[in-house]
Symmetry: C2
Subunit: 343 residues, 2 copies
């Protein structure tokens, strides 16, 4: 064991990268060279490679007031792996570029990397490259993930066909409700630091927001059952926005049924406490990182008993538009929400 380094200044940039990436064990045969040269080297061995990049900035994508750094590192990896799974590919490598201001200590960066490495271990992914540097203010994390699939395994957004079934994994809305709860307690704390936050009973939505998981389970299940989705996307911006991406790229319409939407009991209770219709959290909340996908009708029998999967609607011809059929049998046109509302 080398002696524990004291601070960032004595460690230096190269020393920091070495320190953060020491004892890395390569997990995948496709990883030829990880950290230590001008670039990492991978050997795809006949597979196609999917590549995805995300950048998270402090104050916009995360709030360090209520986000533990280890969770942040874990989530930053998971959101990229989620994009790889949504192509029906298996993630095997990531690179991490990090910029931090002088307010961050070595211990804080170690915490962040502990989360990054935990996610890599859980998902069998190699950390193959890094860039660590300074910023004037705040923290920025940019992660690129690489994944593998054969050309005929890859699933795009544009393959949904009329009569296909629309499916999602897990339950939806919890992450958004967890975020609302964290924001509420932050405001309460700002007004009166003596008040303790009221999180009791809401572990599930909090964990869904702070430490989401990516869709490996589904991809493994689909492969074992010999099912290839006709289209797939991960739910980062809310179900409404994501199904519209699939419909527009596939040039089809859809019907989603409110009474089929999967919401867990704790989330329902929290939505009520927040005076929010839980369907709104599901349709427009986002950050669940569940997978939304379509399958051919003849595959229905293979998935109908799977707890992981809910069938929530079906694909129509494009003239029929994009609608949510409510429990009261009203047809509500779907619209994308969020920052994109003006587009």
């Amino acid at each position: 064991m080398e002696e524990k380094p004291k601070d960032l200044a004595t460690l230096g940039e190269f020393g920091l990268i070495r320190h953060l990436t020491e004892n890395l064990v390569i997990k995948n045969a496709e990883t030829i060279l990880a950290v230590g040269d001008d670039a990492a080297v991978i050997a795809p061995a006949g597979m196609q490679v999917v590549v995805t990049t995300d950048l998270l900035t402090e104050g916009i994508h995360f709030d360090l007031i209520y986000t533990p750094l280890k969770h942040l590192g874990y989530k930053a990896v998971v959101v990229n792996l989620s994009d790889v799974y949504s192509m029906n590919a298996i993630p095997k490598q990531i690179t991490v570029a990090l910029a931090v201001s002088s307010k961050f200590t070595l211990e804080m960066i170690e915490e962040l990397y502990a989360g990054i490495r935990l996610a890599c271990d859980r998902y069998g992914v190699d950390l193959i490259g890094g860039d660590t540097s300074t910023s004037l203010t705040g923290m920025t994390i940019s992660i690129t993930a690489l994944g593998y699939a054969s050309a005929d395994q890859l699933v795009y957004r544009n393959g949904a066909r009329e009569n296909d079934l629309i499916c999602v994994t897990g339950d939806l809305g919890a992450a958004y409700l967890g975020l609302l709860l964290l924001e509420r307690e932050k405001r309460v704390f700002a007004n009166n630091p003596q008040v303790q936050p009221q999180f009791a009973g809401y572990d599930y939505p909090l964990e869904r927001f702070l430490k989401p998981e990516a869709g490996r389970g589904l991809i493994e299940m689909l492969r074992s059952k010999g099912i290839k989705p006709t289209s797939m996307i991960d739910i980062s911006d809310g179900l409404s926005s994501e199904i519209l991406h699939i419909c527009q790229q596939s040039q089809v319409g859809c019907r989603i049924y409110e009474d089929k939407l999967p919401i867990d009991m704790v989330s329902m209770k929290l939505a009520e406490e927040m005076n929010l219709v839980s369907t709104t959290a599901v349709m427009n909340g986002g950050e669940d990182y569940e997978l939304l996908f379509t399958i051919a009708p003849e595959d229905y029998d293979k998935i109908k008993d799977e707890e992981l999967i809910s069938v929530i609607g079906h694909i129509t011809n494009p003239e029929k538009g994009y609608y949510l059929i409510t429990q009261g049998d009203a047809a509500v046109e779907l619209k994308a929400q969020g920052w994109n509302h003006g587009a």
Copy 2:
């Protein structure tokens, strides 16, 4: 032609990415899918893939007072391509993740992307993915580059052997001197905004700093001559630091000869004006993005008449250490400089 969008708010995130990446023509057979799905898709077709990531933050890596945004976009791409060439691989794809604060207008981001796309065109690289988001302050750019080579073409830092010749491309020190000039004129301007900057005659060092080029010429030449370097690295942190990386990873020593160092005449003159020994700019300046490499002695005849290449020294056994032999025949031990000085 769609109507020219007015501003970032009406465009939205998806609209912005679409706008910045419209009319992209894919240049490489290895690029299967670029922007528009959860991830891009590449088909390496039996080659190994090199992957490198860099992150640039405003105020640390670039100063928008004197850096035109188009140059910044160009340079952000080039520094990544440089890492790919230094593996003796050919770059073919990049992803760009960008975060900007509200002080940036659409026109400014278009300028940045004009530089990114110009570099992609010049180097035959496809822009395959992007993430564009908001930051609280300043601009952050993270680029990942992918390049291709067969396993036996790849050149690492650890292959230098005793008696190998140490070579560099082009000339060194100019970029650092260009930076010093920009910083000097910035200070003068800050003290008295009436004074016009004094850049006349120094176009070359300024261009070397603001708009460097990557080492495609060398890689193509080496392939045409059937030479494979024994080790290679690009010069981003100064010659001294880079040759130490090669020596330490190859477990060898080196002798560099001051009178062999390639410096151009304008840079020499500027160094003099700055009261700087030009050898210091060469050894410790950095940002030249020339390639430093070693070749077996028997390859000398193949390169000795090439203007692009200077032979500046040779590799020794490790006991002989790392030394610069000055014009006065003194042996000065090489040390890494810069932020890493404490490591």
